[in-house]
């Protein structure tokens, strides 16, 4: 027998990952089925398939928007890398670095272990999450009925572009598995790629979509 509440993450994803006029009915049906004794695994399977089905249908119904979001997502790193935004981010990185190297915290930059944390690059890592998050917020405000399509495409394009870093970190670790620094690098890039960036996009998109719905109600 299942508990009365379905897996929270799955429900959160379901409510935001699908679009269309029947979203409320579908979410309600799944909750009703779950309370009748379906398992958490069943709920997760249904959630993943509902998001995939809705995503495919949305692409065919909104081809122009899907193409625009894909192109924007693919060129987003280039846009902020070659814009003034990146110059300002780099300045902030520098502001971090100088006080660190001249302080008793210099080991954070010089120690090989702490160096992997790249404290002087945290601003850049934050920017790599914040810029897609801002874009996600704007797009879901503009297209609140296509939230699922917009968020899924943004997550796919942003995660896809970080995969070479993860692959490179994985290769380093496989080459020298005894050295924990490579394992740390792999965990670091994986956390940014698979957790921090998707979470930033999803949370900002959820906030943008909710705000847009509130202002139209």
């Amino acid at each position: 027998m299942s508990s009365s509440k379905p897996p929270r993450l799955a429900q959160w994803l379901l409510e935001r990952g699908i679009s269309g006029p029947q979203r409320e009915a579908l979410v309600g049906d799944m909750l009703e089925q779950y309370q009748r004794g379906r398992s958490a695994a069943w709920y997760w399977r249904q959630t993943v398939s509902a998001i995939a089905i809705s995503f495919t249908a949305e692409i065919s119904q909104h081809k122009a928007l899907a193409a625009a979001v894909t192109v924007l997502g693919l060129y987003l790193p280039d846009i902020y890398m070659f814009s003034r935004v990146w110059v300002w981010v780099a300045r902030f990185d520098h502001l971090w670095y100088r006080p660190l190297i001249n302080s008793r915290w210099h080991w954070m930059v010089t120690d090989p272990w702490a160096y992997r944390l790249k404290p002087y690059l945290w601003t850049s890592e934050i920017a790599s999450c914040a810029v897609p998050a801002v874009v996600s917020w704007i797009l879901t405000r503009l297209y609140p009925r296509q939230t699922g399509l917009v968020l899924t495409l943004l997550v796919i394009t942003q995660v896809g572009q970080r995969l070479p870093y993860v692959r490179s970190a994985t290769e380093d670790w496989i080459r020298d598995p005894g050295n924990p620094i490579w394992l740390f690098g792999l965990l670091w890039f994986s956390a940014i790629t698979f957790v921090a960036i998707p979470a930033s996009i999803l949370f900002a998109g959820a906030a943008g979509g909710r705000r847009a719905r509130l202002s139209t109600d």
Partner: protein
Amino acid sequence: MAKREFPGGFELLVLLALIRVGEEAYGVPISDAIEESSGRAVAIGSVYITLDRLQAKGLVSSRLGEPTAARGGRAKTYFRITAAGLRQVRQARRTLIRLWDGVPQFEGGSA
């Protein structure tokens, strides 16, 4: 030859399930009816996408029910088959029976 819309395999299953369930047809009983008759698990998402498509073709109509606490305050959407939908199902049945008739592999009830 005039082009005739013909419901696809899953569309036909959903239409037949709608007829079976009757007035109280919404996502859960429709999925249950298909699961019971086919013996396969059904993705509720695919049932709703199919219902949307059938509604766009004018084969199905829908009405919103009352929100209930058991569904987290979310309303059911009830569906019913339209006259055009019924005609399509009858046409599909006639076509399938005509195609089946005389196929040697199905003679005598064995496949």
